[in-house]
């Protein structure tokens, strides 16, 4: 177990090391704002210089920056940048359906999901954010120790086939990241997203799929079983099902996309035969909200 943690952490750090520190941008302040190291691009309480502005009525004379004002006739006030830390909450699908890879050359979907999630966490923590899990198992904290805790928590699996997104305990106005294959019940996902949107939480949906799930290259008489074994479907001509299966998959993706648009989230479908870096880059961009 500890080996897995070590490897996972090492791989994630390797992935994370390729990016500049992630400075997530919070659009709204949460009530539980804690001062952090990263600016909000507006004036407020903080250490870093933001701008000089002319003295307005109501400003106390103490706030005048005399050094700047002495260069001219006007008085200036030195403003500082408002710095906050933000909470980011993760949910990574621990279900059995994620423990699948179609070929021994490809990683399991679950491994890929954890890798991306942890890499993003490291970036976020390095940027001063606080990262934790949804629910109450691991509340958001910052610091390197949190990376260890995250890695450990990520390596837990459940036996059920399709895990449901944990939408409880989401801190209002924070950011969230859901990583799953989203092959289970979509209504729960919808519920979670709506609840999160209600609390002003925005985030990313990362769907991790195996290439065979996208291509369905099966033929002949086949009994399909879910990884956990709870579901089975027998067909006489698997090849005939392909069209309809793909239709359903596309429909599902469209629904996820639609859902994320409605709630202000962002959605990406990632395949395990693609590079994890691409997904991480996308996650970083999405979490950063367009400020790259």
């Amino acid at each position: 177990m500890s080996d897995t943690v070590t490897y996972l952490r090492r791989d994630a750090q390797i992935e994370a090391s390729r990016f500049p520190a992630l400075l997530a941008r919070a659009e709204q302040l949460a009530g539980t704002v804690l001062l952090g190291e990263h600016g909000r691009r507006r004036s407020g309480m903080g250490d870093d210089f933001w701008q000089y502005r002319p003295l307005r009525s109501g400003d106390s004379l103490r706030s005048v920056d005399w050094r700047r004002s002495a260069r001219g006739d006007e008085q200036f006030v030195r403003e500082r940048e408002w710095q906050i830390a933000q909470s980011v909450q993760l949910w990574v699908d621990p279900g059995a359906s994620m423990r699948f890879s179609s070929s021994k050359d490809l990683p399991q979907k679950g491994d890929r999901a954890r890798l991306i999630a942890l890499a993003a966490s490291i970036l976020l923590i390095r940027g001063g954010e606080r990262v934790g899990f949804t629910g109450w198992s691991l509340p958001p904290r910052n610091g390197d120790v949190q990376v260890l805790r995250l890695a450990e928590a990520l390596s837990e699996d459940t036996a059920e086939d399709y895990a449901l997104p944990e939408h409880r305990g989401i801190i209002p106005h924070s950011r969230a990241m859901f990583v799953s294959d989203f092959l289970g019940d979509l209504d729960t996902v919808e519920l979670a997203l709506t609840k999160a949107a209600d609390r002003g939480v925005r985030g990313v949906l990362l769907q991790v799929l195996d290439p065979t799930e996208e291509s369905f290259p099966f033929k002949g008489r086949t009994i399909f079983e879910s990884v956990g074994g709870s579901l089975a479907h027998e067909t006489l001509k698997a090849g005939d099902l392909r069209e309809r299966y793909l239709e359903r998959l596309i429909e599902r993706k469209a629904r996820l996309d639609h859902l994320s648009r409605l709630t202000g989230w962002q959605y990406l479908c990632h395949h395990t035969d693609d590079s994890a870096q691409n997904a991480l880059l996308w996650v970083w961009r999405a979490m950063d909200g367009g400020h790259g």
């Binding site: 195996d210 290259p217 033929k219 002949g220 008489r221 086949t222 399909f224 079983e225 879910s226």
Partner: protein, 921 residues
Amino acid sequence: MIMLGPLGFTAPWLLLGLLALPILWLILRAVPPAPIRRRFPGVALLLGLSDDDTVTDRTPWWLLLMRMLAVAAVILGLAGPVLNPRGEAGEQAGNGPLLVVMDASWSSAIDWTQRQQALEALLTRAERAGRPVALLRLTAPDEVRFQGADVLKTRLQGILPEPWQPDAARMDRAISLLPDQEFDSYWMSDGLARDSRAAMLSALETHGRVTVFEGPRAHYALLPATYEDGSVTLTLRRLRPGPEAEISVAAHGLDPAGNPAVLMRATAVFDPSATEAALALAMPAELRSRITRFEIEGARSAGAVSLPDDSLRRREVALLAGNENREGLELLSPLHFLHKALEPTADLLDGALGDVLPANPDVIVLADVATLSPGEEAGVLQWVEEGGTLLRFAGPRLAASDVSRDGEDPLMPVRLRVGGRSVGGAMSWGEPKTLAPFTEDSPFYGLRIPADVTISSQVMAQPDPTLAARVIAQLTDGTPLVTRKRMGQGQVVLFHVTANAEWSSLPLSGLFVQMLERLAVSSMPASPDPADLVGTIWQPIRVLDAFGRVVDAGNLPGVAGENLMGASLGPDLQPGLYRGEDRSLARNVMTPDMAFEPAVWPDRIAVEGLSRPDETPLAGWLLALTLLLLIADAIASLALSGRLSGARATKAAAVLLALALAAPQARAQEDAAAILAASEVTLAHVLTGDRQLDDLAQAGLRGLSDVLYFRTSVEPAEPMGVNLETDELAFFPMLYWPVTASQPTPSSEAYARLNDYLRSGGMILFDTRDADVASFGASSPEGRKLQELAAPLDIPPLEPIPQDHVLTRTFYLLQDFPGRYASRDVWVESAPPDAEMIEGMPFRNLNDNVTPVVIGGNDWAAAWAADDRGAPLVRMGSGFAGERQREIAYRFGVNLVMHVLTGNYKSDQVHVPALLDRLGQ
């Protein structure tokens, strides 16, 4: 056995199994293929999807068909199918004894293997039927004894054809040997027409049914070669007229080294429907004389081989006369009759004896030449000892001289009495003398003596104990006319008369020509008249067997000359090469007057051909087909059920394809690299296996190449890494070899190539990169490794680089050779010990060559190393001093490359003044 056309079945009842096939079809059709269980997370999306086609997924018809075919093939295969079975019913019906009559002549040797197979098949069938079999070979008729076919079968390999034909006498003997009982006959004919066949056939038909067996193969025969108009003419015949055919004929012989070889090959063309084709081979006499046999290529028969004899070899005869300047008296010339007699069959040489001898003629004729100079005599003596024939004619000069008067002249067979004698002339008594019949030990024995040959004058032989043995022709009164003495391998022959008609009428007669022939002075016509050969004995040297192979004659008895050409071939006269006293004669199987026509059989006789297809059991093939079908079925089933994943199959196919294509591609790549390296000056470094070091070396050489490009007229291409084991080194002017303690030692082949490289002017710069920690010679791991690496290399003695070494001035004037480290320990090939400073010269005259190695530890590559934009990769020293050191390092690199490319050019005196000026002296 059931017959279906050409197909028979040994176990026909098994064929009923085919009836089960339709049932099997139905069963197989009803059973769908077994399902595969697959783990698939997307199953959630599949729930509720029903199959369009609710009918069970059936095995596709073509797969069913394949399985059916497999089953059918098994059934058919087990039923024992035989193609073209030889039924017991048929032409050889009957249970009585069977007599196999074989011509067994050279003509049947062409397809003897097929004949043996046919005979074996026949014996097998006779064995099955329990028929006693006897064998009668007409070329060697022997007692006919009926015995079990299995007994005969064991002797099958020993039954061989003979290199002659069954002649009438042997046919008669064979007929007389036929047992007095009923039997069927099976005549394996050689296909040639023969008068004696009819008698044999009727004799066989009185005993029972006769079946004739003939091979369909085209028969070709080669007639003896003749020599006409400067070329060798070969005549080919074929048995039956047919379409145009090209037949290749080879002349075998000894090549100049004495090994058997094909000396010439030519193609004869039979015109359509012609049975004869001629071929003229123009070849020089020297080549002609080396030919040992002509043969039709691919035909294994004695009839397709022709042995040449002396008739192809024209003898070279040198004619010399004592007094030739008698203009206008042609008929009196001593050589006139010799000319006439020899011209058709020999090459005549004229000239002085000294000129003729080096040409090594076969015969030298001295007509009335008395004395030879001592030098000439010695030359002629040696020539005779080595096999020459010296033919002398008497005449007035010889009679008048003292040659061989008191003692026997070495070049005369006998001593001569003074004066000679004249008989029957105007001033003498008596009649002109005639010749006595030749004795048996004379080479002329058997020649008919014309009555009108008379001798009127001659030189007389001195009576002597050896005289009688040397006389080979004498007059009726017993005086010698022709005497002969053997010397070494040659002989000296003296005609006691003149070569013209002055002393006798012998030169006017045909006997004269025949005598010359017997003495091998003139060559024989191609096929000599048997009468000419009467009385001679010919010893076989090499004989032909029926297959046309030339074998040593061993101790076969000699053959009388009259039989040699006249009698028909047989055990006593085998075709081959026969040697007489002085020449050889070939007796070939084919002679020009021999009939070569196809045999014609009466209509009542059934004639079988060899072409009849063999009995072929098909069971094995069918079962193999079954196996193949089953394999195909397995693959197809896997593919159908989706177990054979497309990706995997594609990958396997790709691997196979890559394997097939890899070799040429690799070579093309290699070639491209070689062309690149050869088209520009290319610096190279040895790949050490340490990735980082190799990259640094590459970067270093790139930096140096850039500097060279900017500052000098050397414009190097992108440097290359060189794998010592696989790459060609010859393209590179120098190799940079960074030494690591861990790099592998090259193989001995690589060392061989490195040594070649060093000897052919290449240079290796060894860099131990440890000058910061170890001065040179002190033991560092790299230093020890360098010693190990360089031990097998062909490296001359070394010395630390002297101050006046040409490296110090090939481009820049340098005294330091720093790299990343600035150690002065750089070693080069040592100067010769006698190199001395000349007064007034700044430099010694040192090595004339490029030093093959430069050894140091300054880590030059690191100093030179530059990235793609030209920025240095490795920091050196501190501040400006470091950059200065880098600059000097570059200068050393430039000097080094210049040294490699220009050699000792800067040692040249021409530049001394300028250099002196620069040095401020």
